[in-house]
Subunit: 362 residues, 2 copies
């Protein structure tokens, strides 16, 4: 049985256990996870219908059907023609099922259309259910995440030898994009270069600000390589670090290291967040750590488990996620250190292995 047929069978087993009669997934990573095929995010609907009992069926625009590869008869492909009614086809395939788990990222329009033509079904988000399948990575998936991490680590090391001052954030971000694609990534998903006071906005978009001596620069970037995601953050400082930066960085480094070291099967997602947050809070920076500690990663850059207060999800071997505390001093500077890690049988493997100390650049 190939990996997709195996995943479909596991999905069906969980559905039976949880009383879900059918699963519908469309755009996003649930579909390629289950079938190897990624839907175009277009007005022409694509939908995989997995009954708890029976053969999965992929409904695709006829134009896309030649792009679908089916191995071992894992699912059947139904291409719809331009003048067909695809929602009617999906409705017919669903038949008289009662409870449908619906892919989180599927366009609302298609859900509303299905709800309008048949009011007897109840729909629930597929996220929890799909997260249960996708959170624990196989050795092949971990190997793919490791390769993606190695690529961005290499780019971080290259950037340590590059001049930052006198260039715009956008210019530096373009160089990071070029280097990451050249080093093997298929796509880039984000490329934050946040200099000086811009660093205090965790999701700053690189802009026309010219980087100056004395700036701390948050560099946070990632993309996809062979279908799996990278995501790392390292700090660069142009010459002398700004006032207050070194003291805070020492605390951040310690908090990030302690959270990584705390990863092992059996701890909760929330407890990892608390490890970093307690250290940062005790040093007096608690109000400046304004986001969760991290997020799962795999085919999506952000997926379950989320390392956040209140999340009792127990970490298991094979779960992969970011550990990325930050300290943001409004109007002055920001800092974040981020590694992707994977829980092992008895501890943790850090997939990003580039030096976490800040790099002094010109």
């Amino acid at each position: 049985m190939n990996e997709h047929a195996g995943r479909l069978a596991r999905a069906q087993a969980v559905m039976k256990r949880e009383g879900i009669d059918a699963l519908c997934v469309s755009v996003g990573s649930d579909l390629p996870y289950l079938t190897g095929y990624r839907a175009m995010p277009l007005e022409r609907v694509t939908m995989l219908i997995v009954p708890a009992d029976g053969h999965p069926e992929l409904v695709v625009p006829g134009l896309e059907a030649p792009r679908v590869e089916v191995r071992d008869d894992a699912f059947t492909v139904t291409g719809w023609a331009e003048s067909d009614d695809p929602i009617g086809i999906i409705d017919g395939l669903l038949g008289d099922v009662g409870t449908v788990a619906f892919g989180d990222e599927t366009w609302s329009r298609f859900l509303l259309e299905l709800q309008a033509i048949n009011t007897a079904r109840s729909f629930v988000p597929a996220s929890e259910f799909m997260a249960g399948l996708r959170m624990v990575k196989s050795p092949d998936e971990i190997a793919a995440l490791r390769r993606a991490a190695k690529t961005v680590d290499g780019v971080v090391d290259e950037m340590a030898g590059v001049r930052f001052s006198g260039r715009t954030e956008r210019d530096v971000s373009r160089e990071i994009i070029d280097r990451t694609i050249s080093a093997g990534h298929d796509t880039m998903e984000f490329w934050i270069v946040a200099s000086g006071p811009n660093g205090a906005s965790p999701h700053h978009e690189p802009g026309e600000r010219v980087i100056e001596p004395g700036d701390a620069v948050v560099v946070d970037f990632g993309g996809h390589q062979d279908g799996y995601s990278s995501d790392t953050t390292r700090m660069f400082v142009v010459g002398e670090a700004p006032y207050g930066f070194d003291d805070a960085f020492t605390v951040l480094y310690e908090a990030q290291s302690a959270a990584v070291d705390a990863v092992r099967p059996g701890v909760t997602a929330a407890s990892l967040d608390a490890v970093a947050r307690d250290i940062i809070s005790e040093a007096g920076y608690g109000d400046l750590f304004i986001h969760r500690l991290g997020h799962g990663i795999g085919m999506d850059t952000h997926e379950h488990p989320y390392l956040i207060e209140g999340n009792d999800q127990v970490i298991e071997a094979g779960m992969a996620f970011s550990i990325e505390p930050g300290i943001y001093n409004p109007g002055e500077w920001g800092m974040r250190i981020e590694d992707i890690v994977v829980a092992t049988g008895d501890g943790v493997e850090r997939l990003n292995t580039s030096d976490r100390a800040y790099r002094v650049v010109s």
Copy 2:
């Protein structure tokens, strides 16, 4: 009043007329159309809530709030913190409204969560309603589409001087991406290079096939420049055209020209499709034209109006769309010619002006 405030006011006027109490939009182009702000397609929800009467409110993850720019108090921004319940916030802002138009591309998960905590509201897709606002472009929007078209036209002309044979489709597609970004595009959305028999699959993904003498190559690419989309298709032939190609191309060229010439205010979308289809069918290729004639274009590459059989949408001055008939001969070759055009007061302006004859390359 700035353009976004004007668009929000127009949306509210239409909502009152159509009995819609509130509009919710999230990821996709409806949100930047109305506010200038584009949501991150992430698990952290962003939602603009526009009541038919009252002040629009944008609910965003706190991390993204610094990226939102509000002019003339067109809307209010509510940032939610990591431990907040954003669906609860959105539900509270919606209050006791009855009918909600919900953005088509918004993740189903958020709709299901809203439906679960309040069953009294009815949700309808916002597409028809938003299409009515977005279909007719302003002069500024048309100017942006014209600039984007000019960029890809330049790349087509550059590619006419480039060697194709001996290179993989993927390699040629990479060159197109690089040239288009260098020429001014901010992002690429698609890059079809379909050679020889691959050309018969309209949405072929460029792969490892090595282009050979005698191949016809479909080149269809586009992206975004200053927030507006490009999309053009031109044919390249390596040396001698394959058997049957020239005869079919003459028909295709005539069909595409006739459909463009038929564009004017007052005709229907379906009638334009019929103009091209009739010419292709009469020449005996009707079964090989397997998709609609075209699609609207603007902030999205595909948007209303769709030029397809059965669509009685009347074309108005300012509507922009593609005219892209194709003939696909399975196992042999495919061909498509695509221009973006805009309906003017008394006819049509072709935004893509590069030569539509096929280019012979080495």
